[in-house]
């Protein structure tokens, strides 16, 4: 049974990779950091990310409402956000960030706004998927410990 659950979890993860939501290498690296001292390391990191990035998103949102747009500032915010997002391996999100930064460089306000909308969608979508994943992982985890013969 647990094997089944494990497999399910693994599939979930795989689909996240395959669909391009998560970067395989980065995410796996995070998982490798998980150990006895930090058994829920990845989840903690992701939670921390979402908390901190919410603030960045808000900053960007506010900055986009200004008129005229301060591209330097937007560029700066977006760099921060991009840096943060690549920490958990958020691949699609990172691409959106890059696109946004490009628009900033060329001073394309419309492009920025459009990309940002896209980015927000990606952001929440990934968040949901990850929440779902971790919830599941938590169920599977203890099960594994309990059942696996030592």
């Amino acid at each position: 049974m647990e094997r089944n659950l494990h497999r399910q979890l693994a599939n979930m993860k795989k689909s996240l990779f395959d669909q391009g939501y998560l970067d395989h290498e980065q995410f796996t690296q995070l998982e490798e950091l998980q150990d006895e001292a930090n058994p829920n390391f990845v989840e903690e990191v992701v939670t921390l990310y979402y908390r901190d990035s919410a603030r960045l998103i808000q900053n960007i949102e506010q900055a986009l409402e200004k008129n005229p747009l301060d591209f330097a500032k937007l560029d700066n915010y977006m760099h921060q956000f991009k840096g943060s997002s690549c920490s958990i391996g958020a691949r699609k999100l990172k691409n959106e960030c890059t696109q946004f930064i490009e628009y900033c460089k060329t001073g394309n306000g419309e492009g920025c706004k459009r990309t940002f909308q896209q980015l927000k969608k990606e952001y929440s979508s990934l968040k949901k998927k990850l929440e779902h994943y971790f919830q599941f992982a938590r169920q599977v985890g203890p099960l594994e410990k309990a059942c696996r013969p030592k």
């Binding site: 980065q26 995070l30 950091l33 903690e44 990310y49 921060q80 840096g83 958990i88």
Partner: protein, 606 residues
């Protein structure tokens, strides 16, 4: 901490136990890096503010082996931090960023980063960071060996061996291509006669000490002098040749960095044109590029002067706006870096590019490629004709000679020592009065040696200048002052910053450094150094320039400042020791650190 430099808490084989300080404002990355480094068996300390990091470093001298820092941080620019650490603590610093653009990386290297990692960072990259620590050690040892007596080497070896069991040992084994004398670590006796005697004890380059150093250097000329001579001249008994050598190296790097300015992109050696030979006597602002020898970027250093953001609040210095302009112009020319500084087009209210530099006299031909729209709208600045010879001598004496005329009268005594971080900046707290009569020193940093385009007519605009003072210098000073005033707490410890140059400019106001530092902070990299901002800060009268840094040369003021500082150094041989107490500029004032208000209207001279 053990006295030996290699002190490592863990007796395990190196590099385990490496003491790493991680600085990043992103909490997610901080957490990840901490975990990764722990996995490498390193001892990790994390910090999310640059200021806090510097504080920690200062408090625990020899408490860390290496620093890893992000480039974009809210309270202080990563590059600035990098400079500070390099100068004060002489620790290897690794930069990180999600932005891997060549220009950024180059900037990092210019500022002295021993490596530049791109995010997302992999474990394997972190595993190897110990090599930077090791390399530094090796070089130090090598220096010592080559210059000190055998006994010292012995001592060192002993110490090293003792302190890190295998630390050097491994290093020795692993040395690949490192030119090290053959210190046979393995074979030494185990007694370390005096662990702290040999190099590991870090020399704190106090302002006074640095002043002596600078004086000695100026006697010969930065390019010509060697550590032995400097040491002899300095007459400091406890100082070793090796200490001087490494300090000299840093100083040169600093100056060259300043010269090169920020942009290397255009041409690595872009700055070459700065050959300013300040022929002119008078205040020719030596546009020399400090790059006389190695670095040709003239411009870079010179502009440092007025950092845009230098919040020279208390600066009384009246910096001649003109100078600033000129500097900026030069900057533009020379190297992108400087460009930013000089002409801060946006702000400079001055009309046209008149770089009224007192340079006029300088004879140096500043050739700078007019990259910057010479618009220094320094209102007051009369066009100064800059003629620089393409001799990037920044460090050359031209400064000193030229600078002379500029007198900064600093009302304020730059008290670096104590003040906050700025310690190194002997910012004149308050008034940096620079006599504009002389060619603005500031010019010189900019030696963008391109005569052709921008010829900044630098005319010693002293008329207005009185208050103006040396634009360049002042800003720095003012900055320094600002900082100094504000920050009180800083540890003066900062070892002498190599780039004392700032102080030089300011003669008294070490503000240059400050400015530099400040500049760096300012988001606009507008060449704080020279560009308008610097000027702006100085002199309200100068209003005209708002060099906000329009241009910020990509390298941001910081670089310029540095070069400036350096160049200044030469100029201001007798700069009050304030300068360097610690390069730390912005430590004292959080407010300052974060944002240096660029004064649009001239400097705020208290």
């Amino acid at each position: 901490m053990e006295t030996t430099g290699f002190s490592s808490p863990r007796p395990d084989a190196f590099p385990a136990g490496l003491r790493v300080l991680v600085v990043d404002d992103d909490p997610t990355w901080l957490k990840i890096l901490e975990k990764m480094l722990k996995k490498c068996s390193y001892e990790v300390t994390t910090c999310n503010l640059a200021r806090e990091a510097l504080h920690l470093l200062r408090e625990r001298k020899d408490g860390f082996d290496i620093v890893i820092s992000d480039v974009n941080m809210p309270d202080m620019d990563g590059f600035k931090l990098l400079e500070h650490v390099g100068l004060e603590m002489d620790l290897p610093v690794i930069m990180m960023s999600v932005d891997g653009e060549t220009s950024r990386v180059m900037k990092g290297v210019q500022h002295g980063a021993c490596d530049y990692l791109l995010k997302p960072i992999r474990m394997k990259e972190l595993r190897n960071i110990w090599q930077h620590v090791f390399r530094k050690r090796i070089h130090e040892v090598r220096d010592i060996e080559s210059h000190e007596g055998l006994e010292e080497i012995q001592m060192m070896r002993n110490c090293m061996e003792q302190s890190d069991d295998g630390y050097l040992f491994c290093g020795a084994d692993l040395i690949t291509g490192k030119k090290r004398k053959d210190v046979d670590y393995k074979q030494d006796d185990r007694q370390c006669s005096d662990p702290s005697s040999v190099k590991k004890a870090r020399v704190v380059w106090t302002f006074d000490l640095h002043q002596k150093f600078v004086k000695a250097v100026n006697q010969f000329g930065l390019d010509k002098v060697g550590p032995k001579k400097i040491l002899d001249l300095m007459g400091v008994p406890w100082l070793t040749r090796e200490n001087v050598a490494s300090h000299l190296q840093k100083y040169r790097l600093y100056l060259s960095r300043l010269q090169k300015g920020n942009e290397l992109k255009s041409s690595f050696g872009g700055m070459k044109p700065s050959d300013f030979s300040s022929k002119d006597t008078a205040g020719n602002v030596c546009l020399h590029n400090s790059s006389t020898a190695p670095q040709n970027n003239v411009a870079n250093g010179s502009y440092v002067v007025c950092g845009n953001k230098i919040p020279i609040k208390n600066v009384d210095s009246k910096i001649c706006g003109e100078d600033m302009k000129i500097a900026s112009v030069q900057m533009a020319e020379s190297k992108e870096e400087l460009i930013g500084v000089i002409t801060d087009p946006q702000k400079s209210s001055n009309s046209g590019t008149s770089l009224n530099h007192s340079f006029g006299q300088i004879g140096s031909d500043v050739r700078y490629e007019p990259k910057i729209p010479a618009q220094f709208s320094w209102t007051e600045v009369p066009p100064v004709q800059f003629k620089q010879e393409p001799k990037p001598h920044f460090q050359s004496q031209s400064w000193s000679a030229e600078v002379r005329p500029v007198q900064f009268k600093q009302e304020l005594k730059p008290h670096f020592q104590s003040e906050n971080s700025f310690s190194h900046l002997p910012l004149c707290r308050n008034h940096i009065q620079v006599d504009c009569t002389e060619p603005i020193l500031s010019h010189h940093p900019i030696p963008s040696t391109n005569e052709k385009d921008k010829r900044a007519d630098i005319r010693p605009n002293c008329s207005k200048s009185r208050s103006k003072g040396i634009g360049i210098v002042n800003p720095v000073e003012s900055k320094a002052e600002l900082f100094s005033v504000q920050s009180k707490s800083h540890l003066p410890v900062c070892q002498e910053y190599e780039p004392i140059p700032c102080s030089i400019w300011n003669t008294k106001n070490h503000s240059l450094e400050q400015i530099l530092l400040n500049d760096i902070d300012s988001s606009q990299r507008s060449l704080i150094l020279g560009t308008g901002s610097g000027f702006r800060l100085w002199d309200e009268e100068l209003q005209g320039y708002s060099p906000q840094g329009d241009f910020h040369p990509q390298n941001a003021g910081f670089e310029n400042i540095e070069s400036f500082a350096y160049s200044n150094q030469e100029l201001i041989a007798d700069i009050p020791p304030l300068l360097y107490d610690s390069w730390n500029f912005d430590f004292g004032n959080p407010s300052e650190a974060t944002e240096y208000p660029v004064m649009d209207q001239g400097l705020f001279i208290a």
